[in-house]
């Protein structure tokens, strides 16, 4: 049982349900033709990440990969603003400039989702340096997939974090697939946390089908990191669907998928709550219904939201008040207008 007991498990169940429903609604938004493009990476099957997010504190920061919706929700992001961003609308988290792969919320310490595999990993090293230099007790967490585990930047970042004893946690969500390549076709040693241990980090592997186990291990790793012993968590799970919205996973068979989907932290948590009489089916159904209403509202919000105005494309390339890029039409007018 997780250190927070059954009340905690109920909270984690709610978060995991909200994540799954959010992802299902993103899918609906796509089917309705309302998303900005099809580069939508669902985190269904990875909801146990909530157990890691639960052990983070106010003021902690994190970076995520392109499959980061669930992490944002678990850290308290607003589904309306997320859905608007996924739809490319003006009131989205990034004013319609980032989309599904680049959600960020500085208020939550979310240093941004990254669409370069491994791109956001080293940022937590710098964040850790900032906290150390300012005497803050915060931790910075890098979330990434097993695909990023094969990128060199991870090893540079892990070495620096260990060398400088920074308050940093690397969290590898091992969903078994880097796009269409299964982990055993990408790595000789698939025990990814062992690589972290070799770098001098506190490394563990946890079962992504058991959110309580994830939470308990994460609490240990996070506390150690907060005290200058950086860590690494491999959360073993299964990517229930394709790489992105249009991928039908022809590279794996149904038997494998059926087996993989048995590792379902949401279903397991529900069974456990009922088994322990923490909640009955009716009350969990009510909770599911509340999540559905919340995410339906997010879809409606995103569809009704306005697109960004054209001129906004020139904003935020540089800081407010700094010299802005010159729009092409202005450039053309200077050549063909004034002089000719």
């Amino acid at each position: 049982m997780a250190t927070g007991g059954n009340k905690l498990l109920l909270d984690l169940y709610r978060t995991m349900r909200r994540i799954r429903t959010f992802e299902e609604r993103v899918n609906e938004l796509f089917v309705r033709g309302e998303t900005a493009g099809s580069m939508l990476h669902m985190s269904i099957g990875e909801e146990a990440i909530s157990g890691v997010c639960e052990t983070m504190e106010q003021g902690d920061s994190f970076t995520t990969h392109h499959r980061g919706h669930g992490i944002f929700i678990a850290r308290g992001a607003d589904p309306n603003r997320m859905m608007s961003e996924i739809a490319g609308k003006a009131d989205g988290y990034c004013s319609g400039k980032g989309g599904s792969m680049h959600i960020a919320d500085m208020g939550l310490g979310a240093l941004g989702a990254n669409a370069i595999v491994g791109g956001g990993i080293p940022h937590v090293v710098g964040a850790g340096m900032s906290y150390r230099n300012r005497g803050l007790k915060n931790v910075s967490v890098a979330f990434f997939g097993d695909g990023a585990s094969q990128q060199g930047i991870l090893y540079e970042a892990m070495n620096m974090a260990a060398l400088w004893k920074l308050p940093v946690v690397f969290c590898c969500i091992n969903n078994q697939y880097g796009m269409g390549t299964r982990i055993d076709r990408a790595a000789a040693n698939t025990n990814l946390h062992e690589r972290a241990i070799a770098c001098g980090l506190n490394g563990v592997a946890v079962d992504g089908g058991d959110v309580e186990e994830v939470h308990e291990a994460s609490e240990r790793i996070m506390t150690a990191a907060r005290n200058g012993r950086p860590g690494f968590i491999t959360l073993t799970c299964y990517r229930f669907y394709g790489h992105a919205r249009l991928d039908k996973s022809p590279y794996r068979d149904e038997a494998e998928e059926a087996e993989g989907r048995k590792r379902d932290a949401l279903v397991n948590a529900r069974a456990r709550l009922i088994d322990r009489k923490t909640a009955d089916a009716a009350s969990l159904d009510a909770l599911d219904e509340a999540a559905a209403e919340e995410m339906n509202a997010a879809v409606a919000h995103a569809i009704a939201a306005l697109p960004p105005d054209q001129d906004s494309m020139f904003r935020d390339v540089y800081a407010e008040g700094e010299l802005r890029p010159r729009p092409l039409r202005e450039h053309l007018s200077m050549i063909l207008g004034e002089a000719r």
Binding site: A104, M106, H123, S140
Partner: protein
Amino acid sequence: MAAIETTYRDALRQALIDAMNEDPSVFIMGEEVGRYGGAYGVTKGLLEIFGENRVVDTPIAEPGIIGAAVGAAMTGSRPVAELMYVDFAGLTMDQVANQAAKSRYMFGGQIGVPMVLRTQGGTGRSGAAQHSQSLEAWFTHVPGLRVVMPATVNDAYHLLRMALKCPDPVIFIEHKGLYVRKGEMDVAKPDGAWGKSVIRREGSDVTIVTYSKMVHESLAAAETLAQEGVEAEVVDIRCLNPLDDESFLASVMKTGRAMVVTEAVLTSGFAAELSARISERCFDYLEEPVIRVAGEDIPIPVSPALERGSVPSAQLIAETGLWLVKRVAPSWAA
């Protein structure tokens, strides 16, 4: 405080010291910046003053160094990440071009990356093909980055101080051939404002638009040209982004002739951008085509004679200027 004579290297060092004293969020990280004192000695003695949390010796891991600096900049620090040679930029380009440059935009203005990437490039030390390049165009091609290349001792000080106040990532490219160059530094008096060009020499016959070490080659060429009765105006653009094109465009409108001089190789270099802007905006004022005098389209060779021959010299600039203005055939065409 009055102006003092010092070197380009010491002016840079003084800028770092003053910035670090003024702003506790500034720290330095990079290979050999601490105990070693920097490959070219710019950070010598800083470890003793500021301690190892603010002068951080890193492993040899350029992507990690720049990536960590990005994260530090996102979380309230103002890191100066030193990339020992600009030639190593290839290792770091994801962190530079996709992370540092894009974060503010992708995240809708929520996250700034106020970092300075200090590096150095150019020829002059027989560093050969992987330690001598002029790669500024790699960075000017990426919206979101500021790119600065100081030529003078006073600019080394002031542009670095300004870079450390910039809210956006700045690629600060020094020239290895300038570190020991002496000149005046007046900490109270910058040569010009951030993002503004400086006219280093006035003239009425031809405008030379240039930056970094080629400013000095161009000024020497201008003296030679003056002996032949040709007055060249030398514009040091200093900042490639933000670029102050109005000043050199006004100069070309006055002189009617333009030469763009860079150490970087000719093809697809920043000289092409400068040349295009002049052609577009000064078309009706130009007496002659805009001329680019640039590095040969070859890797930099190690042999000193070959190395010198691969980049523009004062003599080459002067001969080209004389050809352009007075139709005097240069030595290689005579």
